[in-house]
Amino acid sequence: MMDELNKLSLAEARDALKRGDVTSVELTESCLGAIEGSGALNAFVHKTPEIAMERARAADERLQTGDAPAMCGLPIGIKDLFCTKGVPGQAGSRILQGFVPEYESTVTQNLADAGAVMLGKLNMDEFAMGSSNETSVYGNAVNPWRRSGDDAQLTPGGSSGGSAAAVAADLCLAATGTDTGGSIRQPAAFTGTVGVKPTYGRCSRWGIVAFACSLDQAGPMTKSVRDSAIMLGAMAGHDPKDSTSADLAVPDFEGMLTGDIKGKTIGIPREYRMEGMPAEIEKLWSDGADMLRDAGAKIVDISLPHTKYALPVYYVLAPAEASSNLARYDGVRYGHRAKLAQGDGINEMYEKTRAEGFGHEVQRRAMIGTYVLSAGFYDAYYNRARKVRTLIKRDFETVFADGVDAILAPATPSAAFGLGEMKDADPVQMYLNDVFTVTVNLAGLPGVTVPTGLDGQGLPLGLQVIGRPWEEGEMLNAAFALERAAGFVAKPEKWW
């Protein structure tokens, strides 16, 4: 038996399983062991070892009969936003305390059907609202990376911070995430992992607790681009239960990873060169462009003129949808209900339940959303934001029509920051984390972040490749070329 099986990538483990070098039970036990010792990371908030072992044994049987689907026997973690049948799911919120769904989200069902082994549920910002994992009812997850020579705890990013921390710390081979404004890509960049936000409609949203329906997408968070290709293939697919799910065949993403990007045109959007951008990020970005050029791609400057409106548009539209999506958490049917005083009526029940059940960031967004949708403000905020969203989308359509195959941009404005560092900051400071990622959600495009370097303090930095709609394969191939050229192999030193 190999050592430290939990450190394998999906592809390595898959191949080892197929060769019979390891069993899924061994892999799963290795991950469960790693999880046991990872309390300090606070990544797993609900462990499901029984389910894991049961599925691992079933996977081993399938492997023996030669009937092994794409993810057969591979142990993964699931973001707490996904409903998984019979397993508590709280979306990181107090208001869903005690909630155990009686249904399985389409994406986790697809993964289960592909033979994946679920290890447990992963920490996240409450209702996926946050960029640092600090809004979670479970307390924040912790980034396994530390600045060199510094014990300060860093954020794994958010909202899929638990997923990113778990993958980076080898607690699982891969994890699911969801991305509404950058919630997969930002934490992936903060933890030196690969995260994919697929084209809107590629993965079903059914059974995933909604944050902002027109922006939410599930995606894989993995140790390599190849792993993301494998896992995305298993997660994706048309779902009649989600009206916004695309009725398109899922290509063989892994098969498209040739690393050959000769003749491809990669756009560098000039509007992403923000004022005050750290030199390190700027260098990372131009190095990335050089790598792609060296691999045979044509690098062109492009303009996405409405980029500067993306963040404000996002912070109107996402809270608007969220304020409506959160209305169902009212204490009537499931989850938390406040203790009522004698004489309290239904309004008191709503007010007390929601005041106790929702954290501050969720309350803030519910209030922003309610405000921008209210009579008299609807046109000035919500409707205008919708119109600008169309313009942002058109920006991308224009450059793609001009022959650009993919776009290269930074993933985040900085490396992982310290937990608590932003505590007293203006909330807008936190929102700025999404500046490079929200455009992709607004335009419904696929995006992937790939670690390509370390900053001066030894923390990973990532670049983002944005693809044409439904061209995740081509996008991943560009990311694959970048990954190969960057040769990023650093791992966090184990301290937990």
């Binding site: 409903c83 009206s243 916004t244 169902r328 609807y378």
Partner: protein, 503 residues
């Protein structure tokens, strides 16, 4: 087909203490789409099921659940739109109407505010023969129904039944073209009739399949005409909305009392406040539910879980081609083809089953006679026992058989009524019954003549009177009929009696 022309009815006038007032009414009718499954979930819509038994995860708004449109419901809304001669919008979209209430699990109702599936149409509302009001339809949209809150089962708790939650409704919105309580009820009746013809709504008001909100304002005579010319609402009074009435009677009562309330306010120098009111049938009054200030801000916005509804013209055309003959056309055809009066044609076309029954009877027979028998004898008899036409013990073939026997002269009209009663209660073939029971009428002139002679001979005093007053001939006819057990052919008897009396 006859091209019928109608006069518009006079608007209802209510005399106030100072002036006469007219009413201006617009209705919002909520019609439950006849569908086995709910609008966005697969759950059943069966009425009267155990509380909370027809509830899917979607209806209960469990986390992560998503709506998927029920295509059948869309088709029914399109059918309804076509039945009301309305514009079908090939592009429509769903919006969320946000408000908190325990019987609304999502915290929003999925509806269509900005882009309804059906646009402008019109309905001809029959008031009386030759009199009808053309009411414009502003729009029809599809939306989810809410559940039911139950407040009277426990002193300290309220209960919620989600069986209705998510059931598909059509909201049919009229223009303010209705001018009185009777017209309002007639409008709802006509809508119900058309939807029942179309099969898109069962129209059952008791089970809540059909409910109406009334928008009502009052104005001085002449003001409405100015509104009509300009479509400028400032000519009309401030309107109040009376919510959720589930009977024709309540609709009329509510309009009546609300109009009087508004008149009293205005005549006392006050102003009507725009607000939502509820009708209390027990107290016979409307009560304020919420004022304009308290009005909900529903924060409507496009539902991001649903794609816009895009219909193909060919699909709409297919539905159009499959529409049944609708009440107005059927009525005109009955008048034209069978020579019926508008009244009779209206009665017979009130519902599809009656019309079909009539046509089966009338086929190859005299239409007017068939109409008389269906309306007077059959409907009269069915009404006595509250039987719907579908449960008629007399089939069209049987009733047709009875009519045939009259036409052939085998039985008289009077005997036919006895025969009808026998067929109604015992069943059987009318012709056979007539033979078996010896009901065939006597047309043998000799036998009848003998009977007439006998009566005349026995009643010389009456004969003398009848010579002066020919109307007394009826008495002799009656006596002859009595003597022949009603089987004598009345025509022949009449003829012979007048002949003999004249001798």
């Amino acid at each position: 087909m006859l091209d019928l022309t109608y006069e518009a009815p006079k608007p209802k006038t209510i005399a106030g203490a100072k002036h006469d007032w007219e009413l201006v009414i617009g209705l919002e009718v909520h019609a439950q789409i006849s569908s086995k499954a709910k609008l966005f979930s697969g759950a059943s819509t069966e009425f009267g099921a155990e509380p909370n038994s027809n509830v899917s995860f979607i209806d209960a708004a469990m986390p992560g659940m998503l709506p998927v449109i029920n295509e059948y419901c869309v088709e029914q809304a399109v059918r309804t739109g076509l039945g009301l001669n309305a514009q079908i919008n090939l592009w429509s979209a769903f919006d969320r109407k946000n408000y908190f209430y325990p019987d609304l699990p999502q915290g929003y109702q999925i509806s269509q505010l900005y882009h309804p599936i059906v646009g402008e149409g019109e309905v001809l509302v029959d008031i009386a023969p030759g009199v009808a009001r053309l009411v414009r339809i502003e729009r029809i949209h599809i939306e989810q129904d809410a559940g039911k809150s139950i407040h009277d089962m426990d002193p300290n708790m309220s209960f919620v039944d989600l069986n209705r939650t998510g059931v598909a409704l059509m909201e049919i919105v009229s223009r303010p073209d209705i001018r009185g309580p009777e017209e309002a009820a007639a409008f709802v009746t006509k809508l119900r009739q058309i939807m029942r013809y179309l099969g898109t709504c069962d129209g059952n008001m008791q089970s809540g399949s059909l409910r109406a909100d009334v928008n009502l304002s009052i104005c001085r005579p002449g003001a409405y005409e100015k509104y009509q010319e300009t479509q400028d609402f400032s000519h009309l009074g401030t309107r109040c909305e009376i919510k959720n009435m589930n009977s024709m009677r309540f609709i009329q009562q509510a309009i009546e009392v609300e109009a009087r309330r508004q008149i009293a306010i205005v005549e006392a120098g006050g102003e009507v406040e725009q607000e939502t009111r509820l009708f209390d049938p027990d107290k016979g009054e409307t009560r304020s539910m919420r004022s304009k200030e308290e009005a909900h801000d529903y924060r409507y916005f496009p539902d991001p879980d649903l794609l816009p509804l895009e219909l193909e013209q060919a699909w709409v055309d297919e539905i159009k081609a499959s529409l049944p003959e609708l009440p107005d056309a059927k009525k005109a055809r009955f008048m034209g083809d069978y020579g019926l009066t508008e009244y009779d044609a209206s009665v017979l076309t009130a519902d599809v089953e009656s019309a079909a029954y009539f046509e089966a009877v009338a086929k190859g027979r005299d239409g007017k006679m068939a109409a008389n028998w269906v309306i007077n004898e059959l409907f009269g008899r069915l009404r006595k026992e509250s039987h719907p036409i579908a449960e008629s013990p007399v089939s069209p073939a049987q009733l047709g058989g009875i009519i045939d026997l009259i036409q052939k002269g085998d039985i008289s009209g009077k005997i036919a009524k006895d025969l009808f009663e026998i067929v109604y209660t015992d069943g059987g073939d009318p012709a056979q019954i007539v033979v078996d029971r010896g009901m065939k009428q006597v047309t043998d002139t000799g036998a009848i003549e003998a009977a007439v002679d006998k009566i005349i001979a026995e009643n010389p005093a009456q004969v003398a009177k009848a010579k002066d007053n020919p109307r007394l001939a009826g008495w002799f006819v009656g006596q002859v009929m009595k003597a022949t057990g009603g089987k004598a052919n009345p025509k022949v008897v009449n003829q012979l009696v007048s002949q003999k009396l004249a001798e």
